[in-house]
């Protein structure tokens, strides 16, 4: 029982190690919490489609420049 209490206390300390984020305006804080909740667990579910969409969009806008950028980036390691 003591060990469960200890673990519980430890977990609570961990969870409350930082204060909640308050952005000043109620509805903005709510939106912020909603958006960040998607990024806290399995962010790649949202990140991968977002990255693919952005790169397709960049290709449509910049065309060949994107191919040249990749060449530069490939030399960038």
């Amino acid at each position: 029982m003591n060990s469960i209490n200890f673990r519980m206390k430890q977990k609570m300390n961990e969870v409350f190690s930082v204060e909640q984020n308050e952005l000043g305006i109620g509805f903005i804080t709510n939106y912020f919490k909603k958006i960040t909740s998607y990024l806290k667990t399995a962010p790649f579910i949202f990140v991968i489609p977002l990255a693919i969409s952005i790169s397709l969009f960049l290709y449509i806008i910049f065309g060949r420049l994107l191919v040249k950028l990749v060449t530069i980036l490939q030399y960038g390691y």
Partner: protein
């Protein structure tokens, strides 16, 4: 010692997988870590990476020199965020330098993965990219892949600062902008010296 190292290595792999699936909870746990073998092993893996790319690059500078410069960059970054957090913090005692070290070392994983994969791709698919269908397709894939890792990196850096400095969103964004103000010209300077093309941070 050997058992400790193996245990730490297993923990690193576990944390790495968890950073992909639940970065928030994992970074919070990492910020409370006290096992110094973990950052030492990660920094060691990065040293192996620098030795590996030495054979691919123009060999202008020895790998150890570039690696020492990376360590200096890393320490400058950590010290910058630590000192700024100390300045902002109400309770200065809860700000620990070790917490910054642990979280920032783990936030190097997206960088390491990108640099390692790009250098391996350099061997199998050397640039320049062509304007053929395959070249364009690969370019779109490579940008998407790089962007995903960049977003992951940004999430990890934000969480690293959040759990180490215990500051709110606006202050963290302010700290990151303040950091970029000196780090971007510094990176250009390193680029001109041909030490880093893209800063390893």
């Amino acid at each position: 010692m050997a058992t400790d190292l193996i245990t730490s290595f297993v923990l690193i792999v576990r944390y790495l997988i968890l950073l992909i699936f639940s970065p928030y909870k994992t970074m919070r746990k990492i910020s409370m870590e006290k096992d110094y073998y973990q950052p030492a092993i990660i920094i060691g893996i990065i040293f192996i990476y620098f030795k590996f790319i030495y054979y691919l690059r123009d060999k202008l500078y020895p790998a150890t020199l570039v690696y020492i410069l990376f360590i200096i960059n890393f320490l400058l970054t950590v010290a910058f965020f630590y000192l700024l957090s100390k300045l902002f913090a109400k309770n200065k005692k809860e700000i620990r330098f070790s917490s910054f070290i642990f979280t920032f070392v783990y936030s190097l994983f997206p960088t390491l993965i990108w640099f390692l994969s790009t250098s391996i791709l350099y061997i199998f698919l050397p640039p320049p990219r062509t304007f053929s269908l395959m070249g364009k397709g690969f370019s779109i894939f490579f940008i998407a892949y790089s962007l995903s890792l960049l977003i992951w990196k940004f999430i990890l850096v934000y969480l690293a600062v959040r759990f180490s400095s215990k500051q709110n969103f606006f202050r963290i964004i302010f700290m990151i902008i303040f950091y970029l103000i000196w780090f971007i010209p510094y990176s250009i300077f390193l680029y001109q010296l041909k030490l880093f093309r893209i800063p390893f941070i």
